[in-house]
C-alpha cells in the first residue's frame, strides 16, 4: 500500500452484529418457501400468485454475465429467504419493539424513539426481512402521504399496490428482478397524492443482520399529478466471511408535473482487504416519468458491497420530462462495481443529465456503464453526460462503457469523459502549502465529487462526507 492508499483505506465501522434470536425460513428456494413468506406477511391471494408467477419465470432465466465483475457461482439453494428477529407477538407500538432492535438502529445513527427522532425525516427501519418501525406515520397521514412498510401497504392499500407494482420493472425484466419479485420481504411504500408536497424527507434504512440470509426488499414510490417527494435510503451489514446477497427492486412513478428525488448512500459490508466476504448488491432501480413535466432524480453514493451491479434508470415518457443521475462510486481493496444508468427518451423535449464519478483504489475494479437512448418520437431530446474516473494507486482499474443510440436527428447530445490519477505530486503540492497528507486526500476527493455531493439532501451529505472521510465544509456550494 502506498502512502496515498493508506489515507483512503478506512476500516468498515458498521460491521458489528446484533445478538438477537432470529426466526428463519428453511434454507433454499421453492414454491413452499414463497408460500411461507406470503403467509408470514399475511398477504392476499393475488400477491402470492404474482410471486409464484415471477418465480416460475425466474426458473427459466439465467444469471447475466455481461457485467464487468467476477464472482463464484451463487448457490440460490443455500440462502434463507426469510429472517426476522424472534418476537412473541407483533409489536403494535414502539414501546413493544425489542430494545435490542432500537439500540441497533440508534447505534447506526437512526434513533427511532419519539424523543430522539430526526426532525424533518420520517424513517422506516428494516431489519433483515421485516420493518421494525416507521416514524411520523401519523403526521404524514395528515398531509395525505402514505409511508408504510411494503407488507403493510399490500394489506392496507391493495388497489394502489396492485395498480403500480411491476409496472416499471416487470417481474420478467431480468434475473435478479424476477428473483426479487418471487421472494421480496419488506421495503417501503410511498404514495404522494395529487398536488401534495411531502412535508418531510422520507427515509428507509436497511440492515442485514442474520447469517446465511439475503435481503430482497421492494420499494415503490408514486407521486401523483403535481406531487413531490424526496426519499433517502441507507444500508449496512455486519462483517462476515460469507457473501450475502442483496437483490432489491425499486420502482418510481411520476405523473404530470410530479417530481421524485431518490438518494442512496450505500454502505453494505465491502469484504476484507483480500476480498473475503461482503455483500453482493444486485439491484434494479427504475423510474417512469409518465406525466408531462415530471422529473425523477437519482443520486447515489456507493462505497460498500463487494460487488455492485446497479443501474438506476429513467424512462422519460411524458413530454418535457427530466431524468437525472448523479453518482459517486468508490471501490477499494478487492471491490468490484459495475454501475451506471439508462436514460430512455420517448417523449418530446425530454432532458437527461448524467454525472458519474468513479474512484478506484487498492485492487478494485470500477466500471461505469450507461445507456442513452433517444427514440424516434423524442423530438428535441437532450442529454448531458459527464463521466470522470479517478485512480488511486496503480493496481486498480477504471472502465467506461457509454452506449449511445440516437434515432431522432433533432437530439442534442453532450458528453465529457476524463480519467485522472491522484498522485504523490498532488498530495505533495498541498503539503508544501502546509496541509497534512490526509487532509489533502480529503480535499482532492471532495473536489472531484463536488457536482454529486451538492445534489444530496443535507442529512445525507454529512453521512457521505463521513464515509469518504472528506471534509466538505466551505468547499462545496
Amino acid at each position: 500500500m502506498t502512502g496515498i492508499e493508506a489515507h483512503v483505506a478506512k476500516p468498515y465501522e458498521l460491521g458489528w452484529e446484533t445478538d438477537i434470536e432470529s426466526e428463519k425460513a428453511p434454507v433454499g428456494l421453492n414454491e413452499d418457501i414463497i408460500r411461507l413468506i406470503s403467509a408470514k406477511k399475511e398477504e392476499p391471494e393475488w400477491m402470492l400468485e404474482w410471486r409464484l408467477k415471477a418465480y416460475r419465470h425466474w426458473l427459466t432465466m439465467t444469471e447475466p454475465t455481461w457485467p464487468n465483475v467476477k464472482y463464484p457461482p451463487i448457490d440460490y439453494q443455500a440462502i434463507h429467504y426469510y429472517a426476522a428477529p424472534k418476537q412473541d407477538k407483533k409489536p403494535t407500538s414502539l414501546e413493544e419493539v425489542d430494545p435490542k432492535l432500537l439500540a441497533t438502529f440508534a447505534k447506526l445513527g437512526i434513533p427511532l424513539t419519539e424523543q430522539k427522532r430526526l426532525t424533518g425525516v420520517a424513517v422506516d427501519a428494516v431489519f433483515d426481512s421485516v420493518s421494525v418501525a416507521t416514524t411520523f406515520k401519523g403526521k404524514l397521514k395528515e398531509a395525505g402521504v402514505i409511508f408504510l412498510p411494503f407488507s403493510e401497504a399490500v394489506r392496507e392499500h391493495p388497489d394502489l399496490v396492485r395498480k403500480y407494482l411491476g409496472s416499471v420493472v416487470p417481474t420478467t425484466d431480468n434475473f435478479f428482478a424476477a428473483l426479487n419479485s418471487a421472494v421480496f420481504t419488506d421495503g417501503s411504500f410511498v404514495f404522494v397524492p395529487k398536488g401534495v408536497k411531502c412535508p418531510m424527507e422520507l427515509s428507509t434504512y436497511f440492515r442485514i443482520n442474520a447469517t446465511s440470509t439475503g435481503q430482497f426488499e421492494r420499494t415503490l414510490i408514486i407521486a401523483e399529478e403535481g406531487a413531490s417527494v424526496s426519499y433517502l435510503e441507507g444500508c449496512s451489514a455486519p462483517m462476515r466471511d460469507e457473501n450475502q446477497l442483496h437483490a432489491a427492486v425499486v420502482e418510481l412513478v411520476a405523473l404530470d408535473d410530479a417530481s421524485i428525488k431518490y438518494s442512496t448512500v450505500q454502505n453494505w459490508y465491502p469484504g476484507d482487504e483480500e476480498g473475503k466476504g461482503g455483500i453482493y448488491n444486485f439491484v434494479t432501480k427504475r423510474g417512469a416519468c409518465r406525466g408531462r413535466n415530471s422529473k425523477i432524480s437519482w443520486t447515489q453514493v456507493e462505497t460498500g458491497s463487494s460487488i455492485t451491479w446497479k443501474y438506476p434508470s429513467c424512462i422519460l415518457q411524458g413530454d418535457n420530462s427530466v431524468g437525472e443521475f448523479y453518482s459517486v462510486a468508490v471501490t477499494n481493496n478487492r471491490q468490484q462495481a459495475d454501475t451506471g444508468t439508462k436514460m430512455i427518451h420517448i417523449g418530446k423535449n425530454t432532458k437527461s443529465t448524467i454525472v458519474s464519478k468513479g474512484i478506484s483504489a487498492g485492487r478494485s475494479q470500477n466500471t461505469y456503464r450507461g445507456q442513452v437512448k433517444i427514440m424516434k418520437s423524442a423530438e428535441g431530446a437532450r442529454n448531458y453526460s459527464q463521466c470522470d474516473s479517478m485512480l488511486i494507486g496503480d493496481q486498480c482499474g477504471a472502465h467506461t462503457f457509454p452506449y449511445i443510440d440516437v434515432r431522432n436527428s433533432s437530439a442534442v447530445m453532450e458528453h465529457e469523459a476524463s480519467t485522472s490519477k491522484i498522485g504523490e505530486d498532488q498530495i505533495f503540492y498541498c503539503q508544501a502549502r502546509g496541509i497534512k497528507a490526509e487532509d489533502a486526500v480529503s480535499m482532492i476527493v471532495a473536489g472531484f465529487c463536488k457536482e454529486v455531493f451538492r445534489e444530496l439532501p443535507m442529512e445525507f451529505a454529512v453521512e457521505a462526507q463521513n464515509l469518504l472521510a472528506v471534509n466538505l465544509e466551505g468547499s462545496v456550494g
Binding site: E414, H415, E416, A417, S418, K421
Partner: protein, 446 residues
C-alpha cells in the same frame, strides 16, 4: 494495391509527375532542395490522391481535386488581388506589417515590412534559401511529412517560394505580422502551392495572422503547407483565416513543433471554400510545452470543411486544449477528427478536447470523432462533443424577452461563434472577424 488501383493512381498523378520534371529543370536550387523535391514527388506518385477508403479521409472525398486538371499559375498580379488584400488586412495602415503572396509567390509591391525589430526576417522563402540557407535546410519539409499526407508531398515536390519568418533569441515582435496568401485562377484551372516556414528561437515572441483569400473568377485550388518551429520558451499567437472563394478547393497542413516550456496558440477560422481540408499536427516536443488549437467554421451552401487534428504529446508535463465550433447551414458539412497521442513517458500530460456543432438546417451534417492513443499512465485526457440544432428553450427565452424569429436564432448562433472569437486576443482582428461572422449570419438565405 491491385494492378487496377495502381493504374488509377498513375493516371491521376501522371500530369503532376510530368509537370514536376519540367519544374525541376526550370528551377535552380541546392542539391538538398532537389533531393527533398524528388523524394516528395516519388512519394506522391506512389500513393496518389487519397480516397474515402483511406481511414483518415473517410468523411471527405477529394474527387473534385483529384479528377481535375490543375496547372501551375502564371506569374504577375492578376486583377482583383490588390482589392482582396485590402479587404482582409487589419489595423492602422501606418503600423501594419504585411507580407503578401500571390499564388504562392512573395509580392513585394503588396507588402509593408517597415520597422521590424533587428534580426527579424520576414519575406520570401526563395530569398531565405540564399540568405539563410542553413536555417531553411534544417527546417523546411522536416516536420510536415510527405509520408503522412499526399497533399503535403505534392507541396514539397513543388516547393520554390513562400513565406519565411525568423525571430531570433529573446526578440519580441510587438506588432502582429500579417501574411496574406492570395490565389487567383486564370483561363485554366490552377493550383496555388502556398508554403510557409516560421522559425522562432529561444524566448522569442510573435503574433501572426495567416490569411487565405481568393481573387478573380478562374477556377483554383490552394494547396497550403505551413511549418512552425517554436523554440524553447518561445510564445506564439497564431491566427489562420481561410476565406477562399466558395467555389475553390483548399487542402492544407499546419505542422508545429514546440520546444521546452514554449506556448503555441492557434485559432483557425474557416469561412470559405467548397471542398476544404485542414490537417493540423502539433507536436509538443519539449517538457512543459503547451498548445491551444481552436477553430470556428461558419459554412452554408454546399461547403465542406474537414478539420483533422493531431496533438502529439511527446514529452512530460505538456498541456493541450482544443475547442472546435462549427455552424452549418443549408447543405454544409463539417468534419472534425481529434486525435490525441500521448507517447510513452509523456507523464502528467493534460489534454482537453471539445467539438461543438450547430446544425441550422435539416440537410446540414456534421461528423465528429475523437481518437485517443494513450501510452502513458499518469495523464488526464478529457474529450467532449455536442451536436444538434439551436436549443428551443433558449430560443423561447429570447422570444419571451422580445427577441423573436430570425434575430433570436442569429443571436444564439453568434453566441456559438463568440466562444472562439473571444479567444482572439488581437483586438482589431477580433473586431474584424466579429463583423465577418455577423455578416455571414445576417445574409442567410431563406
Amino acid at each position: 494495391m491491385t494492378a487496377v488501383a495502381v493504374e488509377r493512381v498513375a493516371e491521376r498523378t501522371a500530369p503532376y509527375v510530368t509537370a514536376h520534371e519540367e519544374f525541376v529543370r526550370a528551377s535552380a536550387g541546392p542539391a538538398w532542395l532537389q533531393d527533398l523535391r524528388q523524394e516528395a514527388i516519388t512519394r506522391f506518385a506512389a500513393v496518389g490522391f487519397p480516397t474515402t477508403r483511406d481511414e483518415a479521409w473517410r468523411f471527405t472525398s477529394v474527387e473534385r481535386v483529384a479528377a481535375g486538371r490543375f496547372s501551375a499559375p502564371p506569374s504577375g498580379i492578376p486583377a482583383g488581388v490588390r482589392e482582396a488584400v485590402a479587404r482582409v488586412v487589419v489595423g492602422e495602415p501606418h503600423e501594419r506589417l504585411v507580407a503578401t503572396f500571390v499564388n504562392g509567390r512573395f509580392t513585394k509591391e503588396l507588402s509593408t515590412l517597415v520597422g521590424l525589430p533587428s534580426g527579424v526576417v520576414v519575406g520570401s522563402l526563395a530569398d531565405a534559401m540564399r540568405s539563410h540557407g542553413d536555417l531553411v535546410r534544417t527546417h523546411l519539409g522536416r516536420y510536415a511529412s510527405a509520408e503522412a499526407n499526399p497533399f503535403t508531398a505534392l507541396s514539397t515536390a513543388f516547393v520554390a517560394d513562400g513565406a519565411f519568418v525568423y525571430v531570433p533569441r529573446n526578440v519580441v515582435v510587438e506588432q502582429p505580422l500579417q501574411i496574406v496568401f492570395v490565389s487567383s485562377g486564370g483561363e485554366e484551372p490552377i493550383v496555388s502551392q502556398t508554403r510557409a516556414l516560421f522559425v522562432l528561437e529561444e524566448s522569442a515572441q510573435l503574433s501572426l495572422i495567416e490569411q487565405y483569400v481568393g481573387a478573380g473568377e478562374g477556377t483554383y485550388w490552394t494547396n497550403a503547407v505551413t511549418e512552425w518551429v517554436v523554440g524553447d520558451n518561445a510564445v506564439v499567437d497564431a491566427y489562420r483565416i481561410q476565406r477562399e472563394r466558395t467555389d475553390a478547393s483548399h487542402t492544407a497542413t499546419t505542422w508545429s513543433r514546440q520546444g521546452r516550456s514554449s506556448v503555441f496558440s492557434a485559432v483557425n477560422f474557416a469561412f470559405g471554400g467548397h471542398l476544404c481540408r485542414h490537417d493540423i499536427h502539433a507536436v509538443l516536443d519539449g517538457e512543459g510545452a503547451e498548445c491551444t488549437v481552436n477553430g470556428l467554421s461558419v459554412l452554408r451552401g454546399n461547403q465542406l470543411m474537414d478539420h483533422h487534428t493531431t496533438i502529439d504529446h511527446a514529452k512530460p508535463h505538456c498541456n493541450s486544449w482544443e475547442l472546435f465550433n462549427g455552424v452549418y447551414d443549408e447543405r454544409a458539412r463539417g468534419v472534425f477528427t481529434g486525435r490525441i497521442i500521448v507517447r510513452p513517458g509523456a507523464q502528467k500530460t493534460d489534454s482537453k478536447q471539445t467539438s461543438n456543432s450547430l446544425l441550422l438546417s435539416e440537410d446540414a451534417r456534421s461528423d465528429s470523432q475523437p481518437q485517443l492513443e494513450i501510452y502513458a499512465d499518469d495523464v488526464k485526457c478529457t474529450h467532449g462533443a455536442t451536436l444538434g440544432p439551436i436549443d428551443e428553450k433558449s430560443l423561447f427565452y429570447l422570444q419571451s424577452r422580445g427577441i423573436g424569429g430570425q434575430a433570436a436564432r442569429n443571436l444564439l448562433t453568434y453566441g456559438f461563434g463568440a466562444e472562439i472569437l473571444n479567444s482572439v486576443s488581437l483586438e482589431p482582428l477580433r473586431a474584424h472577424l466579429d463583423d465577418v461572422v455577423h455578416a455571414r449570419l445576417e445574409n442567410r438565405a431563406h
